[in-house]
């Protein structure tokens, strides 16, 4: 069954916005409603074309009226995020993000539960629900439970959001629910905690740790969301690119210099960066960079039927190209040095 009226939350952010653009360009879909607390930028709004923007806060019961009056049949919940919304030109604190994520999801689900028209719910979730720890298996499948849930942070939000979604799926078993657990998103146009971290000229890491990063290219993320909206099967799916990069390897790939610091020093640097409003270098972020996280994407390939077009390294390289980062150490210098030493040595042979 093709969706006829789709509601997308988080439409002023990159993923929600670009998904709206794609859905609005699809003539099979009658109506696309884009919801967010702040209006999208003029460029995004123009590209959204026939999509209708509804300025609404998910934490407000107003969303229920939007769903019932427009007779929405497919809801794409893409607003949950670890990153503070920058679109409004202000930075919100951690507690606001948490409210947006958790309370927003609760209100949205409450609205969906009362609705008689909603037949499908697609939730953009995250691999963060598996945590990051040295005591867990190296690769997570969809039925693995996190080892320990931290007391705060985005990971806790994500676990709680999925908990509410499971509760909703139990109460409304006539609604098809698709939960997409994304690996860390990266891409030339996406601004995330991770992309800001890698954009630092000298990148602090914790001495003695080197996490495994699995990345998902923004285009793959959008394609998966679009496919899920159009005809995706219900269920929980891990979504991530093939292969991994180690944190130290990724930093060197950018031509940047990893600076391993002892744990407490990293905490101090993280706090400094946080205060300077550069990066939210939260403790959970440090844990993630220390141990990393890899998702098994077998179900995505077989049941969901999508093969990611970008591997982790390709996605990362595309991010590096797109962000036009000037390498601190130019790879050309390394090649030149190699040639120089060799030709010098060649004289002595």
């Amino acid at each position: 069954m093709l969706p006829s009226t789709v509601l997308v939350t988080g439409a002023s952010r990159f993923i929600g916005g670009q998904l709206t653009v794609r859905l609005a360009a699809d003539p099979d879909i009658d109506r696309v409603l884009a919801v967010d607390t702040v209006p999208p930028g003029p460029e995004l709004l123009r590209r959204m074309g026939r999509a209708e923007f509804v300025r609404a806060d998910l934490r407000n019961p107003l969303i229920a009226r939007v769903i019932s009056t427009a007779k929405v049949d497919t809801v794409v919940h893409a607003s949950t995020s670890a990153n503070p919304p920058h679109a409004g030109g202000y930075r919100s604190g951690r507690s606001t993000i948490k409210e947006m994520n958790v309370i927003g999801t609760m209100q949205l689900l409450a609205a969906c539960q009362r609705s008689t028209t909603v037949a499908r719910l697609i939730v953009k979730s995250t691999g963060a629900v598996y945590g990051a720890s040295p005591l867990d298996q190296a690769i997570f499948t969809e039925h693995d439970e996190p080892h320990a849930i931290p007391a705060s942070g985005y990971m806790k939000d994500a676990v709680e959001v999925e908990g509410y979604v499971r509760g909703f799926a139990r109460r409304r078993d006539d609604v098809d629910v698709t939960v997409l657990r994304f690996a860390n998103l990266i891409g030339p146009r996406l601004d995330t905690v991770l992309s800001r971290y890698f954009s630092l000229p000298v990148v602090p890491t914790v001495l003695g740790y080197d996490g495994r990063l699995q990345l998902l290219h923004e285009q793959d993320a959008l394609a998966v969301l679009e496919r899920a909206t159009r005809a995706g099967p219900p269920g929980v799916f891990n979504v991530g690119g093939d292969g991994v990069l180690l944190v130290s390897q990724a930093i060197r790939r950018l031509g940047r210099i990893p600076v391993p610091l002892p744990g407490p020093a990293v905490a101090a640097v993280g706090w400094l960066l946080h205060s300077a409003a550069l990066i939210d270098y939260a403790p959970e972020q440090t844990r993630f960079l220390n141990f990393g996280r890899v998702l098994d994407t077998t179900r995505l390939r077989t049941e969901f039927g999508y093969l990611p077009r970008w591997t982790t390294s390709q996605a990362f390289d595309d991010f590096a190209r797109g962000a036009a980062l000037r390498p601190t150490v130019d790879p050309k210098w390394i090649a030149t040095a190699e040639r120089g030493v060799l030709s010098l040595a060649g004289r002595f042979r």
């Binding site: 003695g208 740790y209 495994r212 060649g346």
Partner: protein
């Protein structure tokens, strides 16, 4: 100096860079290579390795295994220990299959897990297929800074059923030391007495993936750090399973950390096939316990035989 760039080294396929001028200069360079002295080729190889490392241009598997680093740095560093110091003799390496998943199960001893490292070198260097042993390590290893990331880079992963089964399913050669710290940290007077083989989780993993189990008996590791005592309060403080006292450690300080040069034998025994059992037999606790005991007994008997043949722990 374009001709300097073309010298094919470890990876002939990769040496052809896009910036390379094609045509006659390549032919000249190849001819050049044949007369290039050994040291020059080694230098070029080293430089190429350094460039790969500096630009992050190497592959890592989802478990964090870095074959480039393992083959070019870790193994060359450890090989002298294997060849000169312990003079390891490998017996029955033909029992290890050339491809496909298999589980090497070995006894554990020696205070520090050097026996695992030596087994990995044995498989890599002595086996005709040069297989990489993917070792299953204790959670303590992965919790420890430096050690944990180094362990992953050298192909280890956490000893847990999902990782073991995933590795076996993807056709890797997996190594497991089921005695764990009970075997590693036992006193010198208990040498070559096998401890309990965990709860048989490794047998269940092999049954579930229908892979062969290869019993492996290691003689020589017990003598490298003869543990005569354990300072429990220090161990508790450092959160380690034990704080060893050997004849030389902590008496001689860092010098006491040099392992004694015992003579080693690593024997790979007759493989135990698991594909003859019905699917679902991994849930048959009796079968799992029996198989565990059978493998433990095989290793214990092989140890006795090797010990009788050995005349002196240091001369062999």
């Amino acid at each position: 100096m374009p001709q300097a760039r073309v010298i094919p080294l470890h990876r002939p396929g990769e040496a052809t860079d896009s910036e390379l001028p094609a045509g006659p200069s390549t032919a000249v360079a190849v001819g050049d290579d044949q007369i290039a002295p050994q040291w020059y080729r080694e230098l070029a190889g080293l430089l190429e390795f350094a460039r790969r490392r500096c630009s992050g241009d190497y592959g890592v598997d989802p478990f964090g295994f870095d074959p480039d680093l393992t083959d070019h740095v870790l193994l060359p560093l450890l090989r002298p220990l294997y060849r000169t110091w312990f003079r390891v003799e490998t017996i029955g390496i033909h029992h290890v299959p050339a491809d496909g998943g298999a589980l090497v199960v070995a006894n554990h001893s020696g205070t520090l897990p050097l026996d695992a490292v030596m087994t990995a070198i044995a498989v890599r260097d002595e086996h005709p297929a040069g297989r990489q042993l993917r070792m299953l390590g204790a959670d303590l290893v992965f919790r420890t800074p430096l050690l944990g990331s180094l362990a992953r880079k050298s192909g280890q992963t956490l000893a847990c059923a999902p990782d073991a089964e995933r590795l076996l399913d993807s056709g890797e050669l997996v190594g497991v030391w089921p005695e764990g710290f009970k075997g590693l940290g036992k006193r010198y007077r208990d040498r070559y007495k096998l401890q309990r083989f965990g709860r048989g989780g490794f047998v269940a993993a092999a049954l579930r993936t229908r892979t062969t189990i290869i019993p492996c008996s290691i003689v020589g590791a017990e003598e490298i750090y003869p543990m005569i005592g354990d300072i429990t309060p220090l161990a508790r403080l450092l959160r380690t399973p034990y704080f060893p006292v050997t004849p030389l450690f902590p008496l001689l300080g860092p010098l006491g950390m040099v392992p004694l040069p015992s003579k080693w034998y690593i024997e790979f025994g007759e493989p135990v096939r698991t594909d003859g059992y019905e699917p679902g037999s991994a849930d048959d606790a009796t079968l799992v316990f029996n198989l565990t005991d059978q493998i433990r007994e095989t290793i214990q008997q092989t140890l006795h035989r090797l010990l009788i043949q050995r005349r002196n722990p240091f001369l062999g």
